[in-house]
């Protein structure tokens, strides 16, 4: 009798455990799946216009349309890009604050980039001057083809000292 009870108790516990696992596992794995998949940045090149029109003595704001696979739909989203005058032509930087991802804008009056959320500031060259941002404004890849400037949109991880693609 003792042995039979032990067998039935073990069977009960094992079956109940398996039932619970069968109910929980598919849903849990599904919920955790975004962690297993690396988000892909869109590698399209965006035409910003002829290079000579983009060379100014202060940062120039341009808007590009980024197409992103967003779950069940392709979403078009406008993103601001700043072109900073450089020795070898304009350099493109992202308008996303490296601190916590708020949109950064350039103020011609104070001649600096500023983030409205936590008051980070960068000079007109995109170098960090003050505030909580851990790094300079993030660079975006560019190329020149037949006299036109193209850039790619990249999303970076926020809050760390070196720019790493998200």
């Amino acid at each position: 009798m003792e042995r039979r009870n032990f067998f039935l108790s073990t069977l009960s516990l094992l079956s109940a455990g398996t039932v619970a696992a069968m109910a929980a596992a598919p849903a849990a794995l599904h919920a955790l799946s975004p962690l297993l998949k690396r988000a892909k940045n869109n590698h399209d090149w965006h035409d910003l216009g002829p290079v000579e029109d983009l060379t100014a003595d202060q940062p120039l704001k341009k808007t590009i349309e980024v197409v992103r696979k967003d779950g069940w739909q392709l979403r078009r989203q406008d993103q601001a890009v700043y072109l900073i005058p450089g020795a070898g032509g304009p350099v493109a930087v992202s308008s996303i604050c490296p601190h916590l991802g708020c949109p950064v804008s350039y103020s011609a009056e104070s001649a600096q980039f500023e983030c409205p959320c936590h008051k980070s500031f960068w000079g007109p060259d995109g170098k960090r001057t003050s505030g909580p941002s851990p790094r300079d404004l993030d660079p975006l890849p560019t190329k020149v083809e037949e006299g036109r400037l193209y850039c790619r949109w990249v999303t970076y991880q926020t809050g760390i000292e070196t720019p790493v693609e998200a």
Partner: protein, 453 residues
């Protein structure tokens, strides 16, 4: 540890009482139907939560988000199949459990309230099932819900207002989806979660009813009945997983208010579909409202019909008679509905809807040989009456695959067009799968190619 928890919650002793509660007449497999039902409901809850992570209830996004779940989300197809087949399993075990409880006289004094709570739980399960069908926003769910809510609207006195309330307006649309989603995933499960502990509380209070054969031998629930309950629940879940793997749930074409779909209710409501055929005109309300509600009321009131001690008394015989009438009526009406659908070609029509493109078939060759003469190699069409497949406008709006499949198989017998220019029927030469392949791989690309330019 046990003492610490006991002093603060009383849970260990409650668990011990639950495990030691006596099972009069010994452990039985039939008692395990309820355990299987509970395990199935647990799977419905977890898969439902998983689906809700990627589902978007609006007329524009519902279908594509379900498609995303099935084609792209990790384990999405399997989880949706579990949820879909889980509904059928759940309703099956709900019916079996109800029949067992009636046969075991589990409704008798002092268990009347427990019976009513169980009845309410069963109704909540059915309501949750029904509100789920419209969510994928495919033809099946759309038209099924259209018919059901129209039945509601034709009801007496409050009918039309009830329909407006349920739809969130006068027509099926965004507000219908958000309402049904809220009911399906929030309101009804919440009510269920409130009532289930009440049921368990009453079950613990009244214990297991003594079976007909008498109370001897009495065994404790743990481990004798628990071993049966848990292993049976495991077997049922294993069967559900097998079915979900072998028969993946499908997603129909996106809901199209312009293209009527041969809607049929789920198998457990097929008997009502058949009943509806017998009550025409002003009597329709008898089939749609009176009969289903009468059945529900009779089932709810069973405890008050059979009140004596005797297992062969008048009340007991009346209850068994009613049970037999309901089961036979349900089975024969459902069988009649299936038989009439079989005779009227409903399943042939359904085959057009469920056709999958025939892969090993020469679409190009067939188009060149049979279609290009009138429709042209480029799909633009030579005759005044042929449609221009290359126009993006042609494909805009409601341009269902089935409408084109039907045109291919049945032809378009338009009297206003000279006979030699009419679209002929290719029913004898092509299968629905081949017609579907023609639409998906040949005709649609004509429109897509010109859209890109």
């Amino acid at each position: 540890m046990g003492g610490w928890l006991e002093e603060r919650t009383g849970l260990p002793s409650a668990l011990r009482r639950w495990c030691e509660r006596p099972i009069p007449g010994g452990a039985r497999w039939s008692y395990s139907l309820g355990a299987a039902l509970l395990a199935l409901l647990l799977v419905q809850v977890t898969t439902g939560i998983a689906l809700s992570l990627s589902y978007s209830p609006s007329a524009d996004t519902a279908h594509s988000s379900v498609q995303f779940i099935m084609e792209e989300a990790f384990l999405g197809q399997f989880i949706r199949s579990l949820h879909y087949h889980g509904t059928n399993f759940t309703v099956t075990f709900l019916i079996l459990t109800a029949v067992r409880l009636v046969i075991a006289r589990a409704y008798r004094k002092p268990r009347e309230i427990q019976w009513l709570v169980a009845f309410a739980l069963g109704m909540l399960v059915l309501a949750t099932a029904i509100t789920g069908y419209v969510l994928p926003w495919d033809q099946y769910g759309y038209w099924g819900t259209q018919v059901r809510t129209s039945i509601m609207g034709s009801g007496p006195v409050v009918g039309p207002r009830l329909k407006t309330f349920v739809l969130g307006g006068n027509e099926l649309g965004n507000l219908t989806l958000t309402r049904f989603y809220t009911a399906h995933a929030l309101l009804l499960p919440a009510l269920f979660a409130v009532l289930l502990p009440v049921y368990f509380r009453l079950a613990a209070r009244h214990g297991v009813p003594t079976p007909k054969g008498g109370a001897e031998p009495v065994v404790p629930y743990w481990p004798f009945q628990a071993a049966r309950d848990n292993s049976f629940a495991l077997l049922v879940l294993a069967a559900l997983f097998g079915v979900a793997l072998l028969f993946p749930a499908r997603l129909g074409e996106v809901a199209d208010p312009q293209v009527t779909y041969p809607a049929r209710p789920e198998w457990y409501f097929l008997w009502l579909f058949q009943t509806l055929k017998y009550f025409k005109g002003p009597l329709e309300v008898v089939g749609t409202v009176v009969i289903p509600h009468a059945v529900a009321v009779v089932v709810a009131l069973l405890p008050f019909l059979d009140r004596g001690e005797s297992w062969s008394g008048l009340g007991r015989r009346a209850v068994l008679g009613i049970l037999a009438l309901i089961v036979c009526g349900w089975a024969s009406l459902s069988a009649l509905a299936l038989w009439e659908d079989l005779k009227s070609g409903h399943f042939a029509e359904l085959a057009l809807w469920e056709a999958t493109p025939d892969e090993g078939w020469d679409v190009e060759g067939c188009y060149k040989q049979k279609c290009a003469k009138c429709h042209g190699r480029d799909g633009a069409g030579y005759l005044d009456s042929t449609p221009d497949f290359t126009l993006p406008e042609y494909w805009k709006g409601a341009r269902s695959d089935v409408r084109l499949i039907k045109a291919i198989l049945k032809g378009i017998p338009n009297e206003n067009i000279p006979e030699d220019e009419r679209m002929p029927a290719f029913e004898k030469e092509l299968t629905p799968g081949q017609a579907k392949a023609m639409v998906v791989w040949k005709l649609r690309p004509f429109g897509e190619a010109s859209e890109k330019e």
